[in-house]
Symmetry: C2
Subunit: 380 residues, 2 copies
């Protein structure tokens, strides 16, 4: 059954949502958020407005990277990939001045790390963290903070970290809303990265007002064949403005029907575990990819190389320049990756790196947690 | 798993496919095709080109009616509905002049029957019959014939009848191709009526060159809840030209993304047996329905009445004027139908009739068959 979550408090952005910007450039991002020790805040289950207290003194969360804009499923379907993503460490820290959640450091993102602000009010992880605190009704002044640029996945990790440190009261729907609040401030009002980062697997965003999404359950592996993504990342800064400007404002009816049918085929392939069908649908976009491909040097040759090496399909991941190919065999996945890297050099004169990743079926989760020591309670 | 059929011999029509025209106005259509007694044609399994001989002296086939243009799935997804459709009776008749397959009579289609030609070369059933004969490599001159206008489902019935009378050698893919040949000559090159009519259930047309379609398996009934279609047909001749002209040539990107996501949601709902989700997606078209609805008097009020009566969703069936609503309860289905009929009178000043139908999961099939008497064979 489809899992649908409704939240009526959202407002739809009035402008057309911008494309997703997630580019998996490095293996992990560690954001450290600190908040004031909240153990003094009383928790009461009898009042309508319950303010929870932290149950851990620190947590470390992980959110998997995502691949959005999946071919014909531009702007409404994304999936999470295993073994790559962002980490957020959150600590209860009595030294922190109330009203602040300073971000102590950001690391592991290579060149892009320099661009990430540590200002919690502007950093994507900070914005998501604050949104979760508001949802949890944590009123302590120290819990205001916030957000940044590329790495929206840190928002998912931060949302989960804050929720878990306070006992995990929120639903995934709430966490997606928190991530969406972050994404809307940083890159645009779309949830096709943050939803799969939080929930894992494939997630179809059905509507924003109310927010409603469907988790598409990819079947368990059959006959040792697994869905594998080959992610090839060229050393090339995608011209974001051009990538956005390349999107057509109007779509011919014929292309609309074609892409719609391919999107339907992709959804069917996911639900039925049809890897070849998934690859085929992924490769079939006639609207976005043809316009963005010329902006990625060598893209056409790289896609051709992927297909010739046996990939079931290949397209741009997110807004590029990373390309994603699909296969069912790890050895072949590495071969496809090698051919794509070579082709990036041959046709685009770009260095590139490849990795082969599985579908992440879990989504954002805690990796470490440190429990609070129990205080002796006075019996009434 | 998705079932995909490939046929590389097809050519894509160069113009944008016209909308589907099937309007379920009456319960059945009987076409009688006659062909020459073929028992004298020798059958040889040893030659490369095998010409089969008929194994029945007569057959009666049935093809279920279909609902196409399912909301956001305009022009690429249709389904078959049970207990309503077309019949074709086919007889081996030595009296018929070689080179002809006369259609003896067409009945049961009310006013529209007058418009259906008995000329087998122009009648949809005739064209499909001829296409099947060609595929079967039946070279007898008598087997050239047939086709007509509205009722494309007769083409499906005819294709199955001819195939079965010769022993059923063709695949469903071939039969769909035969139906498609008929449809392309009569109303346009699209298979979202003829494919579900032949295969039953929901069929997504993925491409035409090569022809490729995916049968979306709707799960068996759960907890006695079944997918029910409420079909409400007003006494109103839909202005076909206006219906076609109402289609936009260009789609705003925002509407394209919306409809694509709803199409994906509809496919997911079908595969997961999520009746509410199916209804919701059905109701969510922002491209075709808003433009065609004003051409059907009272449509807006009728849809509203359906939803208020508890329908999960409601949209135009095919190109109209029939409306289709979805529910999971037969009693409620009748109630929804009554409210829709009343609303057609109230808001559109139109008489209308309603019926509640289940999904046809089988597709076109033989209803009757009469076996040939075996001739005594001389032993060599």
């Amino acid at each position: 059954m489809a899992i649908c979550y409704h939240q009526s408090s959202l407002k739809l952005s009035s402008s057309y949502p911008l494309p997703n910007l997630f580019i998996p450039k490095s293996q992990s991002q560690t954001l450290t958020l600190r908040c004031k020790n909240l153990s003094s805040v009383s928790s009461s289950s009898t009042t309508l407005v319950t303010e929870p207290e932290p149950i851990f003194t620190s947590v470390k969360s992980f959110a998997p990277a995502t691949v959005a804009n999946l071919g014909p499923c531009f702007d409404f379907l994304g999936c999470a990939v295993d073994g790559i993503g962002d980490f957020v460490t959150l600590r209860v820290d009595p030294q922190v001045h109330p009203g602040h959640i300073p971000i102590s450091h950001i690391d592991g993102v290579g060149d892009s790390s320099k661009k990430l602000t540590k200002d919690p009010l502007l950093n994507c992880a900070g914005i998501a963290a604050i949104a979760v605190l508001k949802m949890l009704n944590v009123r302590s002044a120290c819990l205001w903070a916030a957000a940044s640029v590329l790495r929206m996945i840190a928002a998912a990790a931060a949302a989960v970290a804050v929720n878990e440190i306070f006992g995990g009261h929120l639903s995934v729907s709430d966490l997606v809303l928190a991530g969406l609040e972050s994404e809307s401030k940083v890159s645009g009002y779309h949830a096709d990265n943050v939803a799969p980062a939080i929930m894992g697997g494939f997630v179809l965003i059905r509507s924003y007002d109310p927010l409603e999404f469907i988790q598409l359950k990819f079947p368990p592996n059959l006959e040792e064949k697994d869905l594998l993504f080959v992610l090839v990342n060229p050393e090339f800064e995608a011209p974001t403005k051009k990538m956005r400007a390349a999107l057509p404002m109007q779509i011919p009816m014929r292309d609309h029907v074609w892409n719609c049918s391919q999107a339907g085929a992709l959804v069917a392939a996911v639900l039925e575990g049809d890897l070849k069908g998934l690859g085929k649908a992924l490769s079939s976009d006639r609207i976005v990819e043809p316009r963005r491909a010329p902006l990625i040097p060598g893209m056409e040759g790289v896609k051709k190389a992927a297909m010739e090496a046996g990939a079931f399909g290949c397209t741009i991941s997110g807004a590029g320049p990373t390309l994603v190919a699909v296969t069912d065999d790890e050895e072949m996945g590495r071969e496809i990756g090698d051919r794509m890297v070579e082709a990036f050099m041959e046709y685009g004169n770009l260095k590139a790196s490849a990795m082969v990743k599985r579908l992440d079926r879990v989504g954002a989760r805690l990796k470490k947690k440190k429990k609070k020591k129990k205080k002796k309670k006075k019996k009434k």
